[in-house]
């Protein structure tokens, strides 16, 4: 076989397929770990680690019930959101492996893809004409204003710190003092963006208090499976972003870097589980306070990075 073809086409293709497969297959494991931590703290046996995989399989084989008020947008929304989240995941490097897709300024695309996913989920929720889903969508986008500003500031801080405009470059930090601030800010954003306690309660059945869960209340069957998988993937994206924004993994060789990244993901997931086990949920009026705090953490990280450069 032509070695040029192998090196320039076949290997990158194989690597890309492998990387996407890892992302897609690994994502549903994270909520499983969170649930096991919660069960362990509560003294319960808890659901199997792979419960979400079983759920996804079950939902995929089910039929769809549609609200009479819904237009095709109700079904298209979750699909676009899923693709957008996957696209944002492809922009992230995976420890030693480069991002599948990288160019100057791709950080902006990353932010926009996440915003697009949110827009599609919220508009699909509004499709049903239910008061609950309208409330959920309103809450989701109101809190997003604050959590997005924190995320943008964090990315700015990384850009200033590394002097790069692409996520691959940004997520290869040198050890620096702003890492702690950035970690605190991004972890809070992770909790808010993924609707975990103290911002939202993924386990509640109370439709009046939900944010994310209420937006998907009227979805069923395969679209619901797509939404659940998308949510798990989003958690993975934020965990990857957080781990690589803080840990200087690029100085390590392949195996230690992979090990460190996996360990960091596990630690982040455990932290989410413990936060969920030991904290009560905030009242909605106090959520902006916490998100503003996250924004300030990121802002100070930005200032620290700036001062370090000059």
């Amino acid at each position: 076989m032509n070695p040029g073809f192998t090196n320039h086409f076949l290997l990158p293709l194989l690597r890309g397929v492998l990387q996407i497969a890892i992302l897609l297959l690994l994502a549903p494991l994270l909520p499983g770990i969170v649930n096991r931590v919660k069960a362990w703290v509560a003294g319960r046996r808890g659901p199997p680690l792979l419960q979400l995989y079983y759920d996804l399989g079950r939902l995929w084989n089910k039929g769809i019930v549609l609200s009479t008020a819904a237009s095709p947008g109700h079904l298209v929304g979750p699909a676009i959101a899923w693709v957008a989240i996957l696209g944002s995941a492809m922009l992230l490097p995976l420890g030693p492996g480069d991002a599948l897709w990288s160019f100057k300024g791709d950080a902006l695309l990353f932010l926009y893809l996440l915003a697009l996913a949110r827009f599609c989920t919220a508009s699909a929720a509004l499709e049903t004409g239910s008061a609950f889903e309208g409330m959920g969508a309103a809450r989701e986008v109101s809190f997003a204003v604050l959590s997005e500003s924190a995320l943008i500031t964090a990315i700015l801080a990384l850009a200033v710190q590394t002097g790069s405009l692409s996520l691959t470059g940004m997520l290869a930090p040198v050890p620096n003092p702003s890492a702690g601030l950035l970690a605190a800010g991004l972890f809070t954003v992770l909790l808010a963006e993924n609707c975990r306690v103290p911002f939202d309660d993924p386990n509640t059945h109370l439709e009046l208090t939900m944010i994310h869960e209420v937006m998907v209340l009227d979805h069923s069957g395969p679209p619901l499976a797509v939404i659940l998988h998308g949510a798990a993937l989003k958690l993975l994206v934020f965990a990857l972003l957080l781990a690589q924004a803080v840990l200087p993994l690029n100085h390590l060789s392949l195996l230690p870097a992979t090990g460190c990244l996996l360990a960091a993901m596990l630690v982040i997931t455990l932290l989410v589980g413990f936060a969920e086990s030991l904290l009560a949920r905030f009242a909605f009026r106090r959520v902006p306070l916490l998100l503003t705090t996250a924004f300030l953490f990121c802002l100070f990280a930005l200032l620290t990075a700036w001062k370090g450069v000059s």
Binding site: K38, F132, H205, S277, A280
Partner: protein
């Protein structure tokens, strides 16, 4: 209570000949009731008794003077037409008047919101127009009767401006089973079973209230040991439900530690109840004239041995709740019902005590074993979710101490017979019996009127939820709609007890 008022003064769990109950025209009864309520008494019951063979109705009024430890009873002459509404002067009468209108067609003139309370007719409560707030920003949220969780059916209609609730209207009646309609001509063999399932979580409260009325109609009193056993079962019921409620409150704010622990501890208390009679909810423990089973010394010892660790467990779990600042910030200042509102709406039970009202049937109108052994009334002043949680915790401690004290010194068996059950003579004809029991939700009231054949003519049941649902609607005013679940749980009212 004013001794000149046209009310027959009596006590809890007593029977009165129907002819001795003062009777006066309906308008005057309404006025006299209004005066009595203005003097600080409380409306326990306001219901109709159909006159045999006529289309007329007599209204029976029972007011409670909590400080004088007396009940006042009066009745109206047979009436066919309406009367000036009490609700305008005393909001606590509003559901009673709606119920009277629904059941007997006596129209309270000037009642501000005259809708049926249960789904007994073709036009159920959810079919009629709801109170609406107008304005550009106002939107309506309809919740239920089918909910996302496994709870009872009820319909809640919120008028909201953004996340703020301006008004909440509650429409119930989905579980109307016709319990009151099943009792005339009774007691039937199934009546006690039906009473135990009015609200399944208040089996002992409703069972005891019914049997106390029945026994006072028969003119007997159960053996002391049976009364003691009933008091123990009642406190175990309170412990199980209050513990479950603390856990449910924690669950609603996603505070896992207390939620998980209390779910298990509630089961422990239910298992202790099963020690008494083999059923975790206390079914078939009670029987006319006493109790079906005695509690022998070995089981007393097992009960005490099980009670101590369970109480210690609740203490640990409750302390997690009080010490978590994230929980306190959710509970404090949420869903406040002021003392004045609680007084005006006639709230009962922990909901009233959490608004600073010293109101407890075990203390105010003691009957049965509570005449000999008392519990301090647990009161907290703020009236918010925190206060309602806190009152439950205080009551858990006091019920626990009461149980340990009582189990240490069981009264002896009846000398001579050694039975835990007194023989039941025939009921007295044409007699009215009233009994109140402080269930874990509050005052559980049963009123039974016998006919000339000594069969039941009218059996009126008032679950504490009947008094308290309006309190929940008030608590929601000006709150965030997302706080509704935790407010609702802090009251934890019964749907089926209300719907009957």
């Amino acid at each position: 209570m004013n001794p000149d008022a046209p009310f027959l003064l009596t006590g809890n769990a007593t029977a009165t000949p129907w002819s001795e109950v003062p009777e006066l025209p309906l308008q005057q009864l309404a006025d006299a009731t209004s005066e009595a309520l203005a003097e600080g008494t409380r409306l326990c019951a306001w219901f109709g008794v159909a006159e045999p063979g006529e289309s007329a109705t007599r209204v029976v009024c029972i007011v409670a003077d909590d400080f004088g430890n007396t009940l006042g009873i009066a009745r109206s002459l047979p009436a066919r037409t309406g009367y000036p509404s009490l609700t305008l002067r005393h909001p606590q009468a509003h559901l009673f008047e709606r119920e009277l209108f629904e059941q007997h067609g006596l129209r309270p003139e000037g009642h501000p919101w005259l809708k049926p309370v249960r789904r007994t007719g073709p036009a159920g409560p959810e079919m009629l127009p709801f109170f609406q707030v107008e304005g550009g920003e106002v939107h309506e949220v309809a919740v239920g009767p089918v909910h996302a969780g496994i709870i009872e059916p009820g319909h809640f209609r919120f008028q909201c401006a953004g996340e703020e609730v301006l008004h909440l209207e509650i429409a119930l009646g989905y579980q109307h089973r016709g319990i009151e309609a099943a009792t005339p001509g009774g007691p039937h063999p199934a009546t006690l079973c039906q009473m135990e399932t009015i609200a399944g979580d208040s089996t002992i409260a409703h069972g005891t209230a019914y049997l106390m009325a029945l026994e006072s109609l028969a003119g007997i009193e159960p053996p002391l040991r049976a009364q003691w056993l009933r008091a123990i079962a009642l406190e175990l019921e309170r412990l199980a439900n209050h513990t479950g409620d603390l856990g449910a409150l924690a669950n609603d704010v996603a505070f896992l530690p207390t939620s998980s622990a209390c779910g298990k501890l509630r089961g422990d208390f239910l298992n202790l109840t099963a020690l008494l009679c083999g059923n975790r909810f206390g079914r078939r423990l009670l029987t006319p004239g006493g109790c079906a089973y005695d509690l022998d010394d070995a089981r007393v010892a097992r009960l005490v041995a099980g009670l101590r660790p369970a109480l210690a467990g609740v203490e640990t779990a409750a302390n997690w709740l009080w010490e978590a600042s994230s929980v306190r910030s959710r509970f404090e200042g949420t869903g406040t019902v002021s003392r004045q509102q609680a007084l005006e709406m006639g709230l009962v039970g922990p909901a009233a005590r959490a608004s600073g009202l010293v109101r407890d049937v075990r203390f105010d109108h003691p009957a049965g074993w509570h005449r000999f052994a008392q519990l301090p009334v647990a009161v907290w002043p703020e009236g918010d979710v925190f206060a309602r949680a806190r009152v439950r915790w205080l009551e858990i401690q006091r019920s626990g101490a009461f149980l340990l004290e009582q189990l240490a010194a069981p009264p002896p068996l009846e000398p001579g017979t050694g039975s835990i059950k007194a023989p039941m003579p025939d009921l007295q004809p044409d007699c009215l019996a009233v009994s109140l029991v402080e269930g874990w939700r509050g005052e559980t009231c049963h009123v039974i009127l016998t006919d000339d054949q000594a069969r039941f003519r009218r059996h009126k049941i008032i679950d504490p939820s009947f008094h308290n649902w309006s309190g929940l609607a008030l608590a929601l005013r000006g709150q965030a709609i997302s706080d509704f679940p935790v407010c609702n749980k802090s009251f934890n009212l019964s749907y089926c007890g209300f719907d009957l």
